[in-house]
């Protein structure tokens, strides 16, 4: 069986790659496109480390087939920063020390962006439930939640 | 005279003595002296950490001892 040729948009730029029909988007991003910011923690959609935004929807890229992004638009962690500047969510993660080993951080930042795009003024509880699909083993989530709520506050004042 | 305290099971190798005085100026000499007097100690002590006046070292044969140093043999502990 020959490979699929996929034409898509990644982080606002046109992109194309070859993949096997059964290959996941996560594998295609990491191996075919060299975008290793999305991480593989489990391959069963349970840890959130592979989170990306596909056509405005937060998805675990390990459960999306690579072929599914044909004609679609995908945002990965590599597309969150704004040119030379970090996104407010990224900046707040740093200020709040909301990462220790950092491997879950890309997934959290993408998920948090999806949250704040949908809900600019979430409560702590809404934030915790939205981020319940992202596992962190290092931080106990405290500083992550504080960082996201702080970023939300900043973004309401100065839209990102 | 360094005073050596031996935890739990080690006193089985010293005829029941839990506290032994040893004349030594360095840890290595102390261990040699102890194991000459109590050959059964050699195997269990190997790999144990040693507390010298409250400071615990893992492997310190050249560490100097004072006249009145208090020594404890401490099972080695691995962190995570």
């Amino acid at each position: 069986m020959s490979k699929l040729h996929v034409t898509t948009t990644i982080n606002g730029q046109p992109a194309e790659f070859l993949c096997e029909p059964h290959e996941t988007l996560l594998t295609a991003l990491r191996d075919a496109l060299g975008l290793t910011g999305s991480k593989e923690g489990c391959t069963t959609g349970d840890c959130g480390a592979c989170s990306v935004i596909m056509d405005g929807r937060l998805v675990p890229s390990c459960l999306v087939l690579a072929g599914e992004v044909e004609g679609r638009s995908v945002t990965t962690i590599e597309g969150i920063a704004q040119g030379e500047r970090l996104h407010p969510i990224q900046q707040k993660f740093l200020e709040h020390a909301a990462l220790q080993c950092g491997v879950c951080t890309p997934g959290f930042i993408v998920s948090a962006k999806a949250l704040l795009d949908a809900r600019p003024n979430p409560t702590e509880q809404e934030t915790r439930y939205w981020l319940a699909g992202n596992l962190c083993r290092c931080t106990g989530y405290d500083k992550i939640i504080r960082a996201v709520l702080d970023a939300a506050g900043d973004m309401r004042k100065v839209p990102a | 005279m360094a005073r050596v305290h031996l935890p739990g099971g080690l006193s089985a190798h010293t005829g029941g003595l839990e506290c032994v005085d040893v004349d030594a100026t360095r840890v290595g000499e102390l261990i040699l002296d102890l194991t000459l007097r109590f050959p059964g100690l050699a195997e269990p002590i190997r790999g144990m950490a040693i507390a010298i006046d409250g400071e615990i070292y893992n492997d310190a044969p050249y560490h100097a001892l004072r006249d009145d140093s208090e020594i404890y043999f401490v099972p080695p502990v691995a962190g995570g």
Binding site: R30, T36, G37, K39, E40, G41, C42, T44, D46, A49, E78, A81, Q90, F93, L94, E95, A97, L99, Q100, C101, G102, V103, C104, T105, I109, T127, Y129, L131, A132, L135, C136, R137, C138, T139, G140, Y141, D142, K143, I144, R146 | H5, P7, G8, G9, A12, G47, A51, I52, E55, I56, N58, D59, E70, V74, P75, P76, V77, A78, G79, G80
Partner: protein
């Protein structure tokens, strides 16, 4: 001791590797690819206990795209051990665990490995390897393992330490140790209240989000280079060398960024296999574990049975303690039962005690270190019983503990006197904290527990190099799991008086920095920190000598104040010279300036913590939710307080997970049924409240700033804090973890 005021230590700058980590640029174990790289896959035993009779690899080798297949024949058994500072590492067991020889000792035990041009080909080929097994009856718990008719995992095993009277051989008991003081018979006889219980805890995993991964490349010059996610690159080098029969000097290990370890990334699993495959194939080989393999075939921590008895006087004074600790080692010797024995009574002055600890082989994965290894399970027992005694005697939780708490000069259960420790201060802080007296809602309860862990010292090296613009680079050999690079930068900033943004901290490979022991054991900020401080001090001394040269005075005429060389008495007419000015003149005053230091330090001041936990039990579902948590800890001196708080919060979350969420579920054949993050359900953000932290600073006199290790203690108190809160909320004392919803419901029904 520290009358010193700090300008940088204690501040909260953004970590230097932060931008890379929040943008996805940082490279972890699976993020490296090399030209011509093959993909390696491991074939694992389907039996929890079996003799390996024969392995036939020809069908696998014939698959197009397969470049190498290895079995135990390719990595002969070694019979060594590495005295690695911490407990000696038995490289025979680590090697046999990485690739089996005579027996498969747990479900998932590696028996062969394949390297091929794609991972699909490698997996397909692995399934074509024919292994002939003779299945044996598996031993799946301690009780079975010590039964007289138990199958024996290792016929050659001899019990280390002093076996109990009446012990038989052959055996599954790998070791026994004991600690004693005084006379427990007399002690218990004098007690007004005695409580005795049996506690059981379950096997749990460290749960790091990043699976093990490495890339190995063997060269025709007999040199191997290895990229690996590890807590200890030097240890990886030495383990691989011992296992493969190579000289350590022929292996270079570059540590990637590491996505969590907690002790589980100290042993090697894939690395020797990747090197052996690369050698056979003549190409680099990448190996990445699946999450399933991480659960089945790395190093979770022991399930345990702890029987403990405590006796106290009516006024709460503890007079006697006895305990019997049984810990699962998994397939090879080496549970942390001895550490459990040393920790369980460490918080209290008890004049009479007897503790024995057993290390027991079972057909489960070989256990590895997990954050304060051995202490949480044993402390679960102690703090539950202390809570019971306090309730029986009508004593306040803090009061009971203060009455017995150790202080400087008291003797630890394992012998030596404690240096400056902050247990009493932490208890008093707990009593003063608003959490202690906050009102509770219906179905809520509050529990308190103390915890203890050592902090390792061991060996570390550091280099500090000055740039021409007055900035500095600091290099160490410790992978940065939790902010140690920024802490090291703070130390250099403090010692040289330059802004922390002008310090560049990095983690080096095994060729580029002196020998350094693992990141773990709560040692990096303390021990590697000492090397960094000394190396920076070396730079400072050199800068003073350069100023002396410029001013044409003797070096003792030059002092140092806040980042500047200052002329003393004799040369008083000279204006001070800053680091930047001196650095600009480096070439002309003697050449580049490089500072270095290497240390081997004793164990750090022991860490004590006191935790308060409020939880709510839903009596209809048994679901238990932590609603408030406060962690109070003696941290010595917080170099970067945000990351100290982070260690405390992370340990608390793991401890809560251990009490309420997580367990290995084995079927009757020894197969783990929940080997994935869906059913091995670690705490998620919606499970936990904010976790308050209180940092008590009782400086460690052995360290120039007073630093103590902080990373491990936080996981110790939560098991008992949760259990005691459960008792408070429901009236029921549960002594068997996991407190899952069905079990809480059962306990509520039985208790009624």
């Amino acid at each position: 001791m520290t009358a010193r005021t700090f300008r940088h230590i204690g501040t909260r700058p953004i970590r230097h590797d932060g931008a890379d980590k929040v943008t996805g640029r940082a490279n972890y174990g699976a993020d490296l690819s090399l030209p011509g790289m093959l993909h390696g896959v491991v074939l694992r035993s389907p039996h929890a206990h079996a003799r390996i009779l024969a392995i036939e690899t020809s069908r696998a080798e014939a698959v197009p795209g397969v470049r190498a297949v290895i079995t135990g024949r390719d990595i002969p058994e070694n019979f060594g051990s590495i005295a690695l500072g911490e407990a000696p590492f038995d490289t025979h067991d680590i090697g046999d665990n990485a690739l089996a020889h005579e027996k498969a000792l747990y479900h998932g035990h590696a028996v062969a490995a394949v390297a091929a041009t794609t991972i699909e080909i490698a997996r397909a080929a692995a399934s074509l390897i024919d292994v002939a097994y003779e299945p044996l009856e598996p031993v799946l718990d301690i009780t079975r393992a010590i039964a007289p008719d138990a199958p024996i995992l290792d016929a050659g095993l001899e019990t280390k330490g002093r076996p109990a009277p009446g012990s038989k051989s052959p055996t599954n008991i790998a070791a026994r140790m004991e600690l004693r003081r005084g006379d427990i018979v007399a002690g218990f006889a004098a007690a007004d209240v005695v409580v005795e219980r049996e506690f059981r805890t379950q096997m749990v995993h460290q749960g790091y989000i990043e699976p093990h991964a490495c890339v190995a490349r063997w060269g025709q010059d007999g040199q191997a280079v290895l990229w690996s996610t590890t807590q200890g690159p030097f240890l990886v080098r030495d383990q691989c060398a011992a296992i493969l029969g190579m000289e350590p000097a022929k292996i270079k290990v570059t540590p990637s960024e590491i996505g969590g370890g907690f002790g589980g990334k100290i042993p090697v699993y894939l690395e020797p296999l990747a090197i052996a495959l690369s050698r056979k194939a003549g190409r680099p080989v990448k190996m990445v574990m699946t999450r399933e393999d991480v659960f089945r075939a790395t190093g979770p921590t022991s399930g345990t049975i702890v029987r403990m008895k405590l006796g106290a006087k009516r006024d709460g004074t503890l007079v006697a303690a006895s305990a019997s600790l049984w810990y699962e080692a998994g397939a090879y010797r080496g549970s942390p039962s001895g550490a459990g024995a040393m920790c369980c009574l460490a918080a209290y002055n008890i004049p009479n005690f007897f503790v024995e600890a057993y290390d027991v082989l079972v057909n489960k994965p070989k256990v590895a270190a997990y954050r304060a290894p051995g202490s949480p399970m044993a402390t679960f027992a102690t703090e539950s019983l202390v809570d019971e005694i306090a309730r029986t005697l009508g004593l306040d939780a803090v009061e009971m503990r203060l009455k017995n708490a150790v202080a400087e000069g008291d003797h630890a259960p394992y012998g030596p006197a404690y240096p400056a420790i902050g247990l009493k201060e932490a208890l008093e802080a707990a009593r003063r904290h608003p959490h202690y007296t906050a009102p509770l809602a219906p179905n809520q309860g509050r529990g308190m527990a103390c915890g203890f862990w050592f902090n390792a010292g061991l060996s570390s090296s550091a280099t500090v190099m000055l740039h021409g613009d007055g900035s500095a680079a600091v290099t160490t050999g410790n992978p940065d799991i939790g902010g140690t690079r920024v802490a090291q930068a703070l130390m250099v900033a403090e010692e040289l008086g330059i802004p922390v943004e002008q310090v560049r901290p990095s983690v080096a490979d095994t060729d580029s920095v002196g020998y350094t022991d693992v990141t773990g054991g709560s040692r990096v900020c303390y021990a590697t920190g000492m090397a960094v401080i000394q190396a920076a001090g070396d730079v400072r001394d050199q800068l003073r000598a350069r100023a002396a040269r410029i001013w044409n005075v003797a070096p003792d005429q030059v002092g140092w104040e806040q980042g500047r060389a200052v002329a003393l008495d004799g040369a008083a007419a000279q204006k001070p010279l800053t680091v930047a000015q001196l650095a600009a003149e480096m070439g002309r005053t003697g050449g580049p300036i490089v500072g270095r230091a290497a240390v081997n330090v004793p164990m750090a001041g022991p860490g004590f913590a006191v935790h308060l936990c409020d939880l709510e039990v839903d009596k209809e579902t048994g679901r238990t939710t932590v609603v408030r948590y406060t962690a109070i800890q003696d941290v010595g001196m917080a170099v970067h307080p945000s990351f100290v708080e982070g260690q405390m919060q992370g340990g608390v979350a793991q401890g809560i997970g251990w009490a309420l969420n997580e367990e290995y579920i084995f079927d009757a054949g020894g197969v783990m049924e929940n080997a994935g993050f869906l059913d091995y359900r670690m705490p998620v953000a919606s499970d936990l409240p904010m976790i308050d932290t209180v940092l008590i600073e009782v400086p460690n006199p052995q360290h120039p700033y007073g630093v103590k290790g902080v990373g491990e203690v936080p996981i110790v108190p939560p098991l008992a804090a949760v259990a005691n809160a459960m008792r408070d909320a429901t009236g029921i004392r549960s002594t068997t973890l996991l407190f899952s919803s069905p079990r809480v419901l059962e306990a509520l029904a039985a208790g009624d």
